[in-house]
Amino acid sequence: MASDQKVLEVNDLNVHYFTPRGAVIAANAVNLYVKEGEIVGLVGESGCGKTTVAMSILQMVSAPGRIVGGEIKIEGQNIVNLPEKELRKIRWRKLALIPQGAMNSLNPVIKIREQMEDGITAHEKVRGVALRDKVFKLLNDVGLPERVYNMFPHELSGGMKQRVCIAMAVALNPVIIIADEPTSALDVVVQRVVAQTLLDVKTRLGVSMIMIGHDMGLQAQMVDRVAVMYAGNLVEVGPVGSIFEHPYHPYTRLLIDAIPSTKQKKSLKVTEGLTHDLRNPPRGCCFQFRCPFVRDACREKPPAFKQMAPDHFVACVQY
């Protein structure tokens, strides 16, 4: 279903958070693209910079963070350093967000209807009955009853809130949706329901998506390609089948091994070693402190990406 048209390109993205005790390098030379109609999964443990990459794409990195280098291209147009006014036109119409905190993404004191409508009216001239019908349709599409229209967020369950967010994100038929852990704040059953809703909407609209998560199991079922991130660096990118069949990077293997299974009883793998301080990354490979196969070459210079299979790249000196 994916065509070869690249709707989003992230080229050499570098993002630093300038803290009083030094710059946190939260994204280091990140390269990523999303093709039309494709879902790319961005995985990695907490703090590895997934949200940072997502917010960079929206040009909304929170202070003291700043994009210090690289390009973000939406349909070929570089939007880094675009004036705020131009960005406002691109946001939501081309680039929509399903934010990380499912529970707090909606303003608690404003009705759902208004929160859904303002995103639409900021970009399109729809008013009155047409607007209301549009919102009703969006609610229906994500499986919510029409009465949600007049409710406040606190009257909805977590899953319902997240579905409102999905409905909001697709309202303007954007080019790409960035879903930052859209299901991780929900319980397992609701997670599946929301994930399914997301997939349904995606299939119907053919929209492209970046889906952030740390659950490889859920990713396996939803995405077309996976990008694995560790400590601000991408370490492996490839089609989901290829990655699960043959994970090349030791960190990718660790993530796949961490998927719980009922068939075999695994000992819970506890993190071996800690991630280094992102303020002063080591010379060489970013994974060297936790890698079971670490050797001298790893400490010298960062490994370059190598193609291992069609569309499947890994950055590791072993290959």
Binding site: R91, L97, P108, V109, D118, H154, M168
Partner: protein
Amino acid sequence: MGGLTRSYFIQRVLMFFLTIWIGVTLTFVIPRLSGSDPTTAMLLTMMNQRGYVENADKIIESYKTSFGLNDPLPIQYIRYLGHVVRFDYGFSFARFPTAAWDMVTPALPWTLILLSVAAVLSFLIGVTVGSLMGWRKTPRWLQSILPISLTFTSIPYFMFGILLISIIAFKLHWLPATGGYSRSVDPGWNLPFIKDVLLHAVLPLISIVLTSMGGWALGMRGLMIGVNNEDYFLLAQAKGLSPARVFFRYGIRNAILPALTAFALGIGSLIGGSILVEFIFAYPGTGYTLYRAIQEQDYTVIQTITNLIIIITAAGVLILDLLYPLIDPRITYKRNVAS
């Protein structure tokens, strides 16, 4: 659904009366705990004025009888509650034939108008300044000049008042220094009088507003910074809404809720705090009256004014409580779940 439910309404109104009851009971109890006897004190004043007072004992006794101070405490208390309900506390202690209430009423409009205008102005300005200081998208130049408006916060407002009087009134002669209006105008609904009253109100108003808005600004700045990091605030920006809409609907709208509570609670302390301002500006308000009543140990007048402050504060809180479900739909919900 949000909005006002009946049980919430009843609960709040009961709370209103309970607060007042506790408050007025304290104003009954505290003077009686102080141990000083108002009648003796008054007699001492009379003696100071006239040198010698005949039949001092008898005077004290007759005072005590006419004010009911010889009755057992429960009876006094019940009679006192009657006073509270009727808003009539009997005669002024210090200026006997005058009713206590009559000593307060002329002062009331002055204070109410001056203070409500001052309170609302300082709240509005403070909230605006604070919100702008706490908002990331505020233009740099504005960010850098806003803190200047907080310079006066650290000055106590009576000091600031004195400063204003000496510079603006005495040196520059721009505005009248003291009083509520000049002797040269006729009190009433005529233009010269109204203009005169407004001119007299400027300096007290400025001294209250400039010195108290900083508190609101600092509080609001913190609240706004908190809201800046909320997910819904980020989402509002991601939606490409206009900065003004993000600022008002998703910023101030949420950040102001705790500030409103503080505002309602602050009404009482504002009245208390205005005593000094009214004193410095010789403003004919209740603060000034209260000051004089305390000096003269005029208990009935003191009680009238303190109970008035209690009722006004409680009413402020009640009004806010009733409005709150309309501005924060979560409130009724929570209460209903709890009860």
